[in-house]
């Protein structure tokens, strides 16, 4: 009984700390940095989505950047062509990307592992070309510029945003929006993973044959996993479009897909808390690399070296480390007599 209440207290402390950090962080940094924090939140959302897919079902996707593109362009198109308010497009952007994810998930039934990687890779590589091709909708190489083409739909155009009586700067607003959605998405994923759905996902990851033999519908599970991770990516893409106030084919290159994957692995596949680490890693590392030196090629070198070093030091990502650190704590809390 005492152990149980200790556990509950520990959880409340953790949740409280997270919420406090969320609320106070922008106060601690400059307005400009809030923008970086917001972008980290955007990466966080995409990484959580990819983690659900790769970390729990074991399926690899090299195309999450392209799914973000679907979300981002959905938002941009709705704003520019249909004059929707930018923030209201977010749910629809998620759904659109989820549908694309579902469609991609269908062949995943027949292919697996490497071949799925190839399919998502093809999708990611083709995306810029496809975007340029359908220029009527996407604005072609120029893309869609929300600020120029539909300024009235952009939240925070005047520099400040007023929500429920509170006024903040546009950057702060973006931060709260991104991480607010991120925490919600995290919570949703956490609940999912804890429950029946999570067990199903893990069963598929650990052994497809065994999973099928206990009646898990492999096809359905994998496709749903793809679709769900697509929703997350779409939402992230929408937020990116809103933050940058512009989308063009270069906003969502193959490199973005790689970045999301790196974030998920460095964070630690199968570990939700690790994803925060992954998001910050992906957000700040490129910048830090340029700080080392701006000479030709050195930032890339540093960036790559940091990725390699983190994998060598923490082969299971930050999540793996967190699990190892928490083990003495959790065993003491949850060990049955």
């Amino acid at each position: 009984m005492r152990r149980r209440s200790l556990g509950i207290v520990a959880w409340l402390v953790v949740v409280g700390a997270v919420l406090a950090a969320y609320a106070l962080a922008p106060r601690l940094v400059s307005d400009f940095h809030s923008r970086n924090l917001a972008e980290a939140g955007i990466f966080f959302i995409a990484i959580v989505g990819l983690n659900l897919l790769t970390g729990y079902t074991g399926q690899i996707s090299l195309g999450h950047g392209a799914l973000m593109a679907v979300g981002g362009y959905t938002t941009a198109a709705l704003v520019v062509h249909e004059h929707w308010r930018d923030v209201w497009t977010i749910p629809l952007a998620g759904v659109a990307a989820g549908i694309v994810g579902f469609v991609i998930g269908l062949p995943a039934l027949r292919l697996s592992g490497l071949y799925l990687a190839l399919a998502t890779f093809a999708f990611a590589v083709a995306m810029p070309s496809l975007l340029k091709k359908f220029s009527g909708l996407t604005g072609g190489s120029e893309g869609l510029r929300l600020l120029e083409q539909a300024p009235l739909q952009v939240t925070g155009l005047s520099g400040t945003v007023t929500v429920l009586g509170h006024t903040t700067t546009q950057n702060h607003f973006l931060y709260y929006l991104a991480w607010g959605i991120g925490l919600l998405g995290f919570g949703l994923a956490w609940l999912l993973v804890r429950g029946q759905a999570g067990r199903t996902l893990r069963a598929v990851r650990d052994s497809e044959v065994a999973a099928a033999s206990v009646g898990i519908d492999l096809a359905w599970t994998k496709t749903l996993a793809f679709a769900l991770s697509g929703v997350y990516a779409g939402v992230a893409g929408a937020l990116l479009a809103i933050q940058n106030e512009i989308v063009n084919p270069l906003s969502f290159t193959f490199l973005l897909s790689i970045l999301i994957l790196v974030g998920a692995v460095v964070g630690g596949l199968g570990s939700l808390p690790g994803m925060v680490v992954g998001a910050f890693f992906v957000e700040y590392l490129p910048d830090l690399s340029t700080r080392v030196s701006n000479a030709q090629g050195v930032p890339d070198f540093v960036y790559g070296a940091a990725i390699i070093a983190s994998m060598l030091l923490l082969p299971n990502g930050a999540g793996g480390l967190l699990r190892r650190l928490a083990r003495p704590l959790t065993t003491r809390l949850y060990l049955r007599p």
Binding site: Y115, A122, V265, P299
Partner: protein, 300 residues
Amino acid sequence: MPLAFDWTQLVQQTVIGLASGGVWASLAVALVLIYRSTGVVNFAQGEMAMFSTFIAWSLVHQGLSYWAAFFLTLAVSFVGGVAVERAVIRPVERAPELTVVIVTLGLFFVVNGAARWIWTPETRSLPNAFSTRPIDVGGVAFSIQDLGTIGVSLAAVALLWLFFRFTKLGLASRASALNPEASRLVGVRVSWMLALGWGLAAAMGAVSGMLAAPALASFDQNLMQPVLLYAFAGAVLGGIDSPLGAVVGTMLLGVLINLLGTYVDWIGSELRLPVALAVILGVLLVRPAGLFGHVAEQRV
């Protein structure tokens, strides 16, 4: 008026396609070598090949002939490949596969960055290995450069095949990839076989780079990025665990892309790769393991 199908053009374009495929084939075989031994696709294979190509350029710049530089670069690349495996792959030998994949991605940036820093990003050019004079075979014009590229690529793969088939080390290397546990029991140092695999792969990559560069008027550090895409696609088409498949797959892909570009108008140059990838995916739906690959039996 009879429809005169231009056979000459078809043959010519096929050979050109085969030459492109030949460039990709060496890199594809490198990918297969790594995949069979380490179990992952090495995303940095193209950049390593690019680095080798720059080394070759430096050697030529110092005064060596193309072929002297070629063979010296092969040797250096081999050593480099072994070094990379010992330094960054060995430590994560027992880690999950995705970790190793991310390491290769990190390696991509490291090698690319290093190449940009050592050789600044001006464009350079590598002299042609073969003369650019066209020759006439039965009324059809071919370039010696193209035929030479196909020849060198096939020769490199053939030599590799001979090594694996007829030498003791080659046998041990194959065994290590197939069944590391059983190989250890006969005394094979499986870990070093992995290193050998990486060395050979690096050498094959160097072949690819040194064939790719002369075909272009000039090249820079982005040289091998498209080649990696095509090599990966071709290898998967052929069956990622089959070297023969890698060669056939990339050659077929080269011909397919070239013919598509020649005869189908709406496929602009930007959509050629995605269309080719779509074709490959179609093939995979019918033959999931690729043309020559093996579907691993799942033991429960």
